[in-house]
Structures are given as structure tokens and as C-alpha cells.
């Protein structure tokens, strides 16, 4: 019976407020009867219906209701709204909308079965949109590939559902960009991959090297390619394990940076990258959780502050190194330590008196920061520093209450989205001047009421 009373109390409050944004926030968590009341509030005026039709956060049920109205401005907004459900899109299409609207429906992620009809649309713009829709089926994609249109060809070459036959056809008729997309497609036939691997065009070899279905032998050959971008794409390709990447002495720093981002690298490779003359290579390897403690200790003394920051952000960084970095002269490095939830008490304590905004902002997010310090941070003069406390799952209620009165609307909106927000604060935020805050507060209260069934 708790649900009935909590939901009823909330509905009474929302009806009394008459606020469309609060009604929108609560809608999805309510029963049919309550939804009917909220619908009247949320869609009360034409202006409000236009706003809801364009809002990606709008409940699908309300968007479906709006699709029953034959209002051109509403139809355009609904067709563009990524949250519009499939049945609403079908209703819009049944109303014979103009080509501009059909184009948006054709590109919509929920268009699904409508794409068969739209693939035969008179407008080339609509058919192009279908060809670029990731949910277009193999049959639709194959039918569109026949068209003599460069944009459709490029879209089809990159379509997830393009089959081997379609890709083969495009390889033979397409321009260099189409062929490059064919070479990058996971469904690309092996004989085309062989041609792409040895193509004179570096673009095609690069896209081929990025293909996640590329055979290992081809990938190993592309790692030796004279073009640095091709080698870079091969290093990035996860089809090959980090353990197989045993040559980190690439002449290009850009390629070595990509090596440093891979996991499961060999120890010798990690050591070479840690001593690389390029700051960015060391920066990436310093974040790599496979780096042994002794190398991290060496990198923690790196002359580049960004490298030391990476050490502090490395999840495998030992406590003694974190403690040392807590006294780093660069605030950006100390802020990295302040973000670590597993930083030793000593390191956190050393940072509590730090006046730097980056350090305070990081401490504000860290659940290990003492509650009394979080209260101080919630009252800081910098709005971005204050907001960090709203992200802290261990923030005390006293600090959250301070944020409920924050002058910066985004801070109140962040607070209102917290799942552990107390009913007291959520109800206070229901009357906030910012629509986004009222929406989140109402959603919060309604979700809680629904879980009390």
C-alpha cells in the first residue's frame, strides 16, 4: 500500500504545481491513470507540445500521442527526435509527409520496417538516408547499392549489414573512398582484402589495416608498411594481441604512441616505451596498468608533469608512489592523486589543505575525502569545484543541502539526478526555477514511489 500513498501524494503535488517539466520527469514511472493526469499538464499548450515533440528526454508514450496530431511543425520535430518510437514514426509516414520529414524518418534508429518502403522513395535524399541507417537490412542495402550515386555507395560500403556480394560489387565500381570503406568492412571477402593489402593507395591499405576481421598474417605485414598511418591503424587493430606487438621502435612517434596505448604488451616493449624521447609516448605508457612498479617509480620522476599525472591516474600505481606524488609541485599531478579512491590516507591528508581548484575539484569527487572537507568544497567560490561534490557518492546530506541552493543551475541539476537524493531535497528541487532540475527531481521522486510497491 506504500506505493499507492507515495504515488498519490506525488501526483497531487505535481497536479498542484502544474509544471510540464516535472510532469515529464515523473511520467514513465507512473501507472495509466496517473499518466493521463500528467499528460494534460505536459501537453497543455501548443508551445509545450512543440517542446515535448523535440525533446530527446520525452517519454515515448507522449511522443506516440503527439504523432496523432496533424501539425506540420510537430511532425518535423517528432521525425527528428531520437526518442520517437517506431509506431509513432509509422503513423507520421502514413500521413504522407514532405520529403524533408521522410528523410529524417529514413535516418531514424527506430525506423526498422519502414525502411523497405523508404528505400523506394522518389527522393534521392530519402534513399541516401536509408543507406546510411545502421539498421537497414542486407536486402535493402543490396538493393540500394545498385544506384549510381556516390553518397549511397559510400553509405552502403560502411553499412553494418552489407553482405560480401554487395561489398564485392562496390569494390569493382566504387571510387577510392568507397573501396576504402569496403576494405574496412568486417564482412569484406578475403580476396578483396588481399587486393586492399597491396593497394598502391595508402588510404585503402590504412582502412584495410583497421579491419577487425583481418587475418593475422596480413596484419603483421601491414605493421611493416612504409606509411605511418597504415602502421598506426594496424597497431590499433585489436585483432592482434598486444603480446604480438614486439617492435616498439617504430621511427614514427605517432605509431609509438599507439603502441603505448595497447594492453598486454611484452615487458621489453614496455621498458622501451617508458624511456621513449616523446612525451606523449611516456604519457600513455605511464597510464598502462601493465607497467611494473619499478618503471612507474621511474616515470613518477619524469620531467614532464603530464607523465607524472598519468602515473597518478594509473590504476596499478602503488600507494608509496601516490604519496610521493601528493607533494608534486604541479597541481595537475596532485589533482590526479586526489581523484584516486584507493590513495593512502597519508596522501589524502596531505592534499586537504591544498588551495588549487583542480585538486579541490578532485577531492570533491573522492568518496575518501572526509565529510567535513566535502562541506567546505560544496561552499567553494568556484562553481565547478562545488559541482564535484554532487558527483560524490559519499557526500554528506549537509553538503548536498548546500548544493540545493547553489546559484549555478547545472550544480542543482546534477544534484537532482542523484539516485540517493532524499525525498526532502527532491521535493525542494521540484520548485526550482530551472526546468532541467524540476524534471530530474520529479523523476527521482517518481522512481522512488514506484520502487515502494
Amino acid at each position: 500500500m506504500a506505493f499507492v500513498s507515495a504515488a498519490d501524494a506525488l501526483i497531487s503535488r505535481l497536479v498542484a504545481l502544474g509544471d510540464p517539466y516535472a510532469a515529464l520527469g515523473a511520467y514513465d514511472h507512473m501507472g495509466d491513470e496517473e499518466r493521463a493526469m500528467l499528460q494534460d499538464i505536459a501537453l497543455g499548450t501548443r508551445r509545450q507540445r512543440l517542446i515535448v515533440a523535440a525533446a530527446p528526454y520525452a517519454p515515448a508514450g507522449l511522443l506516440e500521442l503527439l504523432s496523432r496530431e496533424a501539425d506540420a511543425a510537430l511532425v518535423l520535430r517528432l521525425a527528428k527526435n531520437p526518442a520517437t518510437p517506431a509506431d509513432a514514426l509509422a503513423r507520421l509516414l502514413a500521413g504522407n509527409p514532405p520529403a524533408r520529414v521522410r528523410r529524417y524518418i529514413a535516418a531514424h534508429a527506430h525506423a526498422g520496417e519502414l525502411l523497405t518502403q523508404l528505400a523506394q522513395d522518389n527522393s534521392i535524399e530519402v534513399r541516401r538516408a536509408v543507406s546510411g541507417n545502421a539498421v537497414a537490412t542486407t536486402e535493402i542495402v543490396a538493393a540500394l547499392a545498385i544506384e549510381d550515386d556516390g553518397l549511397i555507395a559510400r553509405n552502403v560500403a560502411a553499412a553494418p549489414n552489407a553482405d560480401a556480394a554487395t561489398l564485392q560489387q562496390l569494390w569493382h565500381v566504387g571510387d577510392a573512398w568507397v573501396r576504402a570503406d569496403v576494405a574496412a568492412h568486417p564482412g569484406c571477402p578475403p580476396e578483396i582484402l588481399s587486393q586492399a593489402e597491396t593497394s598502391d593507395d595508402a588510404l585503402i591499405r590504412r582502412k584495410c589495416a583497421s579491419n577487425p576481421a583481418l587475418p593475422e598474417a596480413m596484419l603483421m605485414r601491414l605493421l611493416e608498411d612504409p606509411d605511418e598511418q597504415v602502421r598506426g591503424a594496424a597497431v590499433r587493430n585489436t585483432a592482434i594481441s598486444g603480446e604480438q606487438l614486439d617492435d616498439a621502435d617504430d621511427p614514427s612517434a605517432k605509431v609509438r604512441r599507439l603502441f603505448a596505448r595497447r594492453t598486454r604488451l611484452l615487458e621489453a616493449v614496455i621498458a622501451r616505451l617508458a624511456a621513449d624521447p616523446d612525451d606523449w609516448v611516456r604519457r600513455w605508457i605511464a597510464r598502462n596498468s601493465d607497467v611494473p612498479a619499478e618503471l612507474l617509480e621511474q616515470l613518477a620522476k619524469d620531467p614532464a608533469a603530464a607523465v607524472r599525472r598519468s602515473v597518478a591516474r594509473n590504476p596499478a600505481c602503488p600507494p608509496d608512489i601516490l604519496s610521493a606524488l601528493a607533494a608534486d609541485p604541479e597541481s595537475w599531478v596532485r589533482a590526479g592523486v586526489a581523484l584516486c579512491e584507493d590513495a593512502p590516507d597519508k596522501a589524502i591528508a596531505a592534499l586537504l589543505d591544498d588551495g588549487d581548484r583542480d585538486v579541490l575539484g578532485a577531492l570533491g569527487r573522492n568518496p575518501r575525502t572526509p565529510p567535513e572537507q566535502l562541506l567546505v568544497i560544496a561552499r567553494h567560490q568556484d562553481k565547478d569545484v562545488r559541482r564535484s561534490v554532487a558527483f560524490n557518492r559519499a557526500a554528506p546530506q549537509e553538503a548536498l543541502a548546500v548544493l540545493a541552493d547553489d546559484t549555478y543551475p547545472l550544480n542543482r541539476a546534477t544534484l537532482a539526478s542523484r539516485k540517493d537524493l532524499t525525498a526532502l531535497l527532491a521535493e525542494r528541487l521540484l520548485e526550482d526555477p530551472e526546468p532541467q532540475v524540476r524534471f530530474a527531481a520529479a523523476a527521482n521522486l517518481a522512481r522512488t514511489a514506484a520502487t515502494q510497491t
Partner: protein, 261 residues
């Protein structure tokens, strides 16, 4: 000591929009309205002067618009301005910057402020004319695109910096009272506190008509009229590749196509 700040509620277009049937403006279904961004800075500058003067100064917000523009007025009042004035008459529906300046000039005569701030321009039409025209009608000094201001209440001059082309700035002194058009970035506009927002609802707003200002509708006619608003056709671009001869051939084809040969 009184500073008068003129503000405007401007239109922010949706990314796709349609024009009105008369083709002279955007259909109001396709835009939202909000306080002009430039005006946040001019209001803030006035509030900073007021606070530095120990609150011994009054900041008055003025707007020309129908009751929908109350939102912009209350937004400025919530930040800390003391009171507001809104002037409206149906004959002002299509008023340009000159017509608005004529109305504002009468408000200035009535209020007798020590300084008038306007935004450097409005975000929707961007004519940047209202402040200049207002100063002209009043016969007051005017400085546009002000990016720094040193002014003490009661002082008979103000020293300011203005942004010029090519990254240049100029420092100038103006006699007061003056009309200053304030540029973005001169300060960091504050957000209204929750208390300020509540208090703004109670702050006095004078709703005036042209009659109240001693103006007649034919005395505030616009100096310009929008004949047509339209989205120009997008140009086409083509990357010409191939040998020099092939490129020259393609270029000749394009020229012939464009000239209709």
C-alpha cells in the same frame, strides 16, 4: 546615482526552421526566446558598479516588448537590479533599432540616469544600432564594443577600453552621462540566486505605453523595413583532380555550366 540598462528578449532558432507566411521573419514555432547574451554582460557591469558603490546606486532595467518579454526583464532583476520598466504598444511590433531608440530616449529623459548601458548588439538581428541611435537622439557621448570600464558613481568621466579590428584596443575617456555598448567578456556574468529569483517576482516593473512617454505611434516609425527573409542557396564545391589538362577541361565545363553556354 542611477544606471539604466536596456535589455532585449531575443530569438534563438531551432536548427531547422520555417519562415512565416509573409516571408519576413521566422515562424515563431521554430524559436525559443531568451535574454540577449550581450545583455547579461551589461547588467553585470551595472551591478558591479552598484556593489562597488556600497549599494548607493540604483540599477534600472528597461525593455521594449510585449508581456512575453517579462521573462527577460525578471531574469535581469533576479541578478540584483532594483526595478524594471517595460514599454509596449502594438505599433512597435516590427520596430527596428531606431524606433526602439526613440522610445528609450523618452525613458532616459524621464529617468535621468547617470549612465546608460546597452549590449553591443542583439544576438538575433545583430544590427548594433540601438545604443548608437539612443546616444544620437540624446546628444550624449557614446562608446561601442566596450571591453573594460573604469567608472565611479558620481564621476563626470569614465575611462574605457574598446575592441577594434585586428586585435587592437583603444583607451578613451568619455564625458558622463554617456551611452556605452558593452561587449561580451567584459566581466563574468553571475547566475541569479534562488533567493534572487523569488525576489524578482516582487520587484516593481512599470508597464508603460507610448502615451505615458508622450509619444504617438507615428512618432516611432522604423527607419527600415524587412522586405524578405530567406535562406540563401548553398554554394557547391567540387574538388578538381587529375592532370593539369584534365583539371583545365573540367574547369572549362564548370564555367560553361554556370554561364549557361
Amino acid at each position: 546615482m542611477k544606471i539604466l540598462v536596456t535589455v532585449k528578449q531575443v530569438a534563438a532558432l531551432d536548427d531547422e526552421f520555417e519562415l512565416r507566411d509573409d516571408g519576413r521573419d521566422v515562424d515563431e514555432d521554430f524559436f525559443e526566446e531568451d535574454l540577449n547574451e550581450f545583455d547579461h554582460y551589461s547588467v553585470e557591469e551595472a551591478l558591479l558598479i552598484k556593489e562597488a558603490a556600497g549599494d548607493d546606486a540604483e540599477v534600472v532595467i528597461v525593455t521594449v516588448g510585449n508581456e512575453d518579454t517579462d521573462d527577460a526583464l525578471r531574469t535581469a532583476l533576479a541578478k540584483g537590479a532594483d526595478r524594471g520598466i517595460r514599454i509596449w504598444d502594438e505599433s512597435l511590433a516590427d520596430a527596428d533599432g531606431i524606433a526602439v531608440a526613440k522610445v528609450l530616449a523618452k525613458v532616459v529623459e524621464r529617468e535621468k540616469p547617470d549612465m546608460v548601458f546597452t549590449g553591443a548588439q542583439s544576438a538575433d538581428f545583430g544590427s548594433a544600432v540601438t545604443g548608437m541611435a539612443l546616444a544620437g537622439l540624446l546628444g550624449w557621448p557614446h562608446a561601442a564594443v566596450v571591453c573594460n570600464l573604469e567608472y565611479s558613481p558620481g564621476s563626470d568621466t569614465a575611462t574605457l577600453r574598446r575592441e577594434l579590428e585586428g586585435g587592437l584596443e583603444e583607451i578613451m575617456t568619455v564625458r558622463c552621462p554617456a551611452v556605452l555598448s558593452i561587449q561580451l567578456g567584459i566581466n563574468e556574468p553571475r547566475y541569479a540566486s534562488l533567493r534572487g529569483i523569488k525576489q524578482a517576482k516582487q520587484k516593481p516593473v512599470d508597464e508603460l505605453t507610448l502615451d505615458d512617454l508622450g509619444l504617438a505611434a507615428d512618432g516611432v516609425t522604423s527607419a527600415s523595413r524587412v522586405r524578405r527573409m530567406y535562406a540563401p542557396e548553398k554554394g557547391q564545391a567540387e574538388l578538381i583532380t587529375g592532370s593539369a589538362a584534365e583539371q583545365a577541361t573540367r574547369l572549362a565545363e564548370i564555367i560553361k555550366e554556370l554561364r549557361g553556354m
